[in-house]
Each structure stands twice: as C-alpha cells, then as structure tokens.
Amino acid sequence: MNKYLSALTNGIIKENPTFVLLLGMCPTLATTTNALNGLSMGLATTFVLICSNSMISLLKKLIPDSVRIPAFIVVIAGFVTVVQMLIKAYLPELDKSLGIFIPLIVVNCVVLGRAESIASKSSVGISLLDGIGIGLGFSLSLTILGAVREMLGTGSIFGLKIYPDNYASLLFVLAPGAFVVLGFLIAFKNHLSNRKQA
C-alpha cells in the first residue's frame, strides 16, 4: 500500500517535473502566459501520461529492448492525437490558444522519460499512479508559473482583474519573463526543501 501511495505523491513535490527534474521545459515556458493556458496544458499532458504509462506497462513484456523507443513514441503519439482530436471537437477556443503545443506533447521529455524509467519496468498499478502523480505535479507547477506570469504581466489571474494593467510589466508575458519567473520559483522551492532538511 505504501509503495502505491508514494508512487502517487512522488510526482507532486519530490520529483516534480518542472522544479526538480527540469523536464519538459519547452511547453512549460511557452504555454504559461496565463494561468488557464498553463492548467489546460498540464491537464492535457496528464491525460497522455496516464494513458501512455498504462498501455506501455501492459505491453512491456511484448516490446523487445532494441525497439523500445519507436514503440513508446508510437503509443505516445497515438494518445496525443486522441487528445488533439478531442480538444478540436469539444474545446475549440483552447485549440486556438495552445495551438501547436498540443501535438508537441509527443516530444515532451516528461512523457517519454516516465515511459522509459517507470512504465517499462513496473506493474500497471504503479505506472498508472505514477502517471497521475507526475501529471498532477506538472499541472500544479504550470498553473503556478502561469498564475505568477499572468499576475505580474497583466494584473489578473484566470482572467479576473486584480490590479490595473498600467502597473503590470509586459516582460513577464514574454519569453525572458518566463525564464526569470521559473528561476525564482526553482530557487524558492530549493530554499523550502533545504529548510525542511535542516
């Protein structure tokens, strides 16, 4: 029971893909221009993680070692395409705002990384829980990053105006601001972990 629980909670703090593993940085920086986009991207990636981790774990005995990368990619790409079709059909505004980053989930290192290190070596239960945990951690970090950038860059969060945008700095909505905020958030997280250890 303990190992299942730890598989689930691992990805949220201890092995958070954005602040600890530093994986999947490209979509992280590009789609967190506001909190809603960050959250949506995180949830789409979570869906792919859950499906691909489960399927790869189910098939792990049937995939010879030399062809494991192409096999993982085919599975991941299949599920990303499913997500893209669903978003195009039922959430077209999201399709417009996330654009090309939905198909780019295929090359997100988080998904392939978890497939290689967890899903191909663990039971379906562990893989599924790991997918959920990492996905939640990713969504959490993207939402936080998006919220900070939106707050500093436009004066609102999730579209709700907090302060007038003349006082906001557009830098945070653009690429350099993304790096700056990410750096500070990682430093803050490390500071908290160091304090806890000491």
Partner: protein, 264 residues
C-alpha cells in the same frame, strides 16, 4: 514470461502489432470526433462572417456561392448575408500569395454599396511584431493627411487603385512591413473583384426570379442596384445584359469587364 528477445522477427512483429492497435484506436476516435470538429469549424467561420458584414438573419454558410475569377484556378467562396430575404452584404473568403511568408487568408465583408465594412485575417505566417500587426494596423486611424489606414467603412472604388504610398498610392503601409502591406492590398482587391462578380450574379438571378414571384424584396433591391451598375462602368453594364445564360459565364465575363479598371 521473460521479455521478448530482440530478434528481427520479434521486433518486426511487435512494432507492427503496436502500430495496428494504435491505428485502430485513432480510426475509432476520428469517427467519433469528425462531426463535432466540422461543427466547430463551421461555427468559427460563421463567427468570422458576423464580424465583417452588417447584421443578418440567414445562414450564410448554407447559401454560399462559388465565384471564379479569370486566370485563377480555384474559385472563391462568398457568403451572402441577408436580412428578411434581401441581401445586406457579402463576406468574401479571399487570400493573397504575395505575403512575406507566403499565403495568408482573410475574410472581407462588403455592404451593398461597394463599401468595405470590416475584415478578419484568418490564417497567416507573417512576422510577429511586423506583418502580423495587419489586423490592428489596418483598423487604426491614419496619421497624416491624404493617407488611409483604417479600412473599415471605406468605399473601395473611391480609393482605387489601392497602393501603398511608396508605390504612389494613398495607403499607409505598416512600418518596416511594406511587402506584407502590399500583399494585404492584393487580398483586398481580389476580394473586391469577387464581391462585384457575386453582386452581378445575384442581380441577374434576382431578375429571373422577379418575373416568377410577386412582391418579393429582391425586386426592390435589384431596382436599387441597376442604376448604380450602369453609372459605374458602361461596358460592364452592357455585358451584364448580354450574357444571362449560365451563371459562371456571367461571373467571368463581368469580372473581365471590371478587372482592367480595378487592377491597374
């Protein structure tokens, strides 16, 4: 059961089966989502049309026309906007291939008096911060005398030939994005030619229907349009009466009549 060894037949079999399973899954998902995706795209198009033409109460998508211009292979799609059966405007899906990064598409709306109501850039790959500013630039007021920048509610024939100031015209091009601006004007000119052709075509159709139905709105709007056409361009007016046979003949011959005057 130990993991499969990496022999050639194993590898081929494993990958093939995985690909087949995933393909099946994708096929099923495609079948499920095909209709909602098509509906979402239609709704997006109708929303784009709503922005560019005067208020209407018909379904422009259902009544769309296909107009061919001479020398261009693919026909253009025109969406007529009507209120109470009478046309109030046309939304033309136009494009230009002369953009800085190639082709871009636009939806241009006209009313019945040759005025451009509004436009919407649909799809483009122009440089962000330069050419990509077209939508904002060409809907903002001009700075200076004798130049136009805001294309909304502009009477097109009054400002033809549409050229940027660099080429001797009156249109204020985007700073440091002359090529994109020229391409934009090309798209507008193209849309205008298609609009004229569509108007002629409907005018003609209305004339035929007029004889068959009494008390339809079409008769009053075609009466309004008639003097305007004859004033505008005598040769075009004459050819409009000559060829009332087939619709496409109509459109291309009228377009030929108007093209020389619009594309200088």
């Amino acid at each position: 059961m130990k993991k499969l060894s990496s022999t050639l037949p194993n590898m081929i079999l494993s990958l093939t089966i995985i690909c087949l399973v995933i393909s099946f899954l994708l096929g099923v998902m495609y079948a499920i989502t095909a209709k909602p995706i098509a509906e979402a795209e239609t709704k997006a198009k109708i929303d784009a049309i709503k922005v560019v033409v005067p208020p209407f109460d018909n379904n422009p998508f259902e009544e769309k026309l296909s107009i061919a211009l001479p020398g261009i292979d693919t026909p253009f799609t025109v969406y007529p906007a009507k209120k109470g059966g009478a046309p109030v405007g046309y939304a033309v899906e136009s494009y230009t291939t002369k953009g800085f990064s190639g082709r871009f598409d636009m939806m241009v709306g006209f009313d019945m008096e040759d005025n451009l109501i509004d436009f919407s850039i649909l799809k483009h790959e122009e440089t962000p911060g330069l050419g990509a500013k077209m939508q904002e630039w060409f809907t903002s007021p001009a700075k200076g005398e004798g130049v136009i920048r805001d294309f909304r509610n502009v009477n097109i024939p009054a400002h033809q030939p549409l050229k940027v100031t660099k080429d001797g015209g009156t249109v204020d091009a985007i700073t440091a994005a002359t090529i994109t601006s020229r391409a934009f004007l090309d798209g507008i000119e193209c849309a205008y030619s298609v609009y004229r052709a569509a108007k002629e075509q409907s005018f003609d159709k209305a004339n035929i229907i007029e004889g068959e139905e009494k008390g339809k709105d079409a008769s009053s709007s075609s009466a309004n349009r008639e003097p305007q056409n004859e004033d505008k361009n005598a040769p075009s007016g004459a050819s409009a009466q000559e060829n009332s046979s087939s619709a496409s003949n109509k459109a291309s011959s009228t377009a030929t009549g108007t093209s020389p005057s619009t594309r200088q």
